[in-house]
Symmetry: C2
Subunit: 152 residues, 2 copies
DNA sequence: GAGGTGAAGTTCAAATTTCAACCTTCGACC
DNA sequence: GGTCGAAGGTTGAAATTTGAACTTCACCTC
């Protein structure tokens, strides 16, 4: 008889581990690089999402979903960003339960400073290391992953 | 004049974000699935590395490097695993500064239980969603990332 | 064989994240 | 209107992670 488990074959195994290790190293590197601006990559992503939204603001739940974070975690993080004056909270008129997180001018300009530096890091440590085809494949794969797993 | 920053083009941007979101969702999912065994993916990876090592043991620093974790984090985590009797620490004779982390029988058998389940999760939520070529590309890309960034 | 430098681990405190409990408001239904 | 289940957010405590300081030991050089 055979075992019911389909183990990864050796190439899949190698690729899976490369992904785990590479991701760990990459995130640590990007985090380090952002530290000079007083941000982590998580904070950075929050600011970016806000900067792109209409009126530079987003509802907390919407933001949490886009980043796949718990509402609780986001509450804490936004609390810190607010203390740093990078984000402002305002209550939502149409839904009294709701809260808008809005990027302040200071937040926007910090982002303007950090972004070029951060993008360079993403290029240097990821994008430019891969062929365009390979990088596109990464996009497809993780798009499928997101799609498959769906919301939390 | 042009700006000095090479921004990501729109496809790269999309791929990068897919990677970020997909990774967040994937890790959360794998973590959740392992919780039934009282493990997180981080604990799991530690046990796996130990299980594959000669005598099922590894020096702390070596283990930390393979997982790209700080020594401090590893000390804490192994402390918890030790409290759960899944890992045992022994001191290293040839280098008195050193400490071996060694998988216990209980650790090994928990791993035997968890592994099939975990691998299924990795397949279902990642490997089987991608074509073999695309998944191989993921491996290549993150291998290059690891290589490029190197040790911490 | 005494210093000096650096590696291996741990420790403690601070920062961050998780988890469950808890309001308040919305919406549907009766 | 009144009720009930669920969504949006927050809170506070517990668990985990980070970062810097610290101890012990190894190794190199003079």
């Amino acid at each position: 008889m055979t075992t019911g488990t389909r183990w990864l074959d050796s190439e899949q195994q190698v690729a899976w581990r490369a992904y785990l290790l590479g991701t760990a190293r990459l995130m640590a590197k990007l985090d380090d690089d952002l530290r000079q601006f007083g941000l982590g990559i998580n904070d950075y992503e929050i600011l970016v999402r806000l900067s792109e939204a209409p009126d530079r603001r987003l509802r907390m739940a919407e933001l949490a979903d886009r980043l796949h974070q718990s509402r609780s975690r986001l509450t804490h993080t936004v609390g810190r960003l607010e203390a740093a004056e990078l984000v402002r909270r305002t209550s939502c008129k149409s839904d009294k339960r709701g809260v808008w997180a809005e990027l302040t001018d200071a937040g926007f300009s910090l982002l303007e400073q950090a972004a070029p530096y951060h993008v360079d890091g993403v290029r240097e440590n990821l994008v430019d290391l891969a062929s365009p085809e390979d990088f596109a494949a990464v996009g497809r794969v993780f798009d499928a992953v997101s799609e498959h797993i769906g919301q939390r």
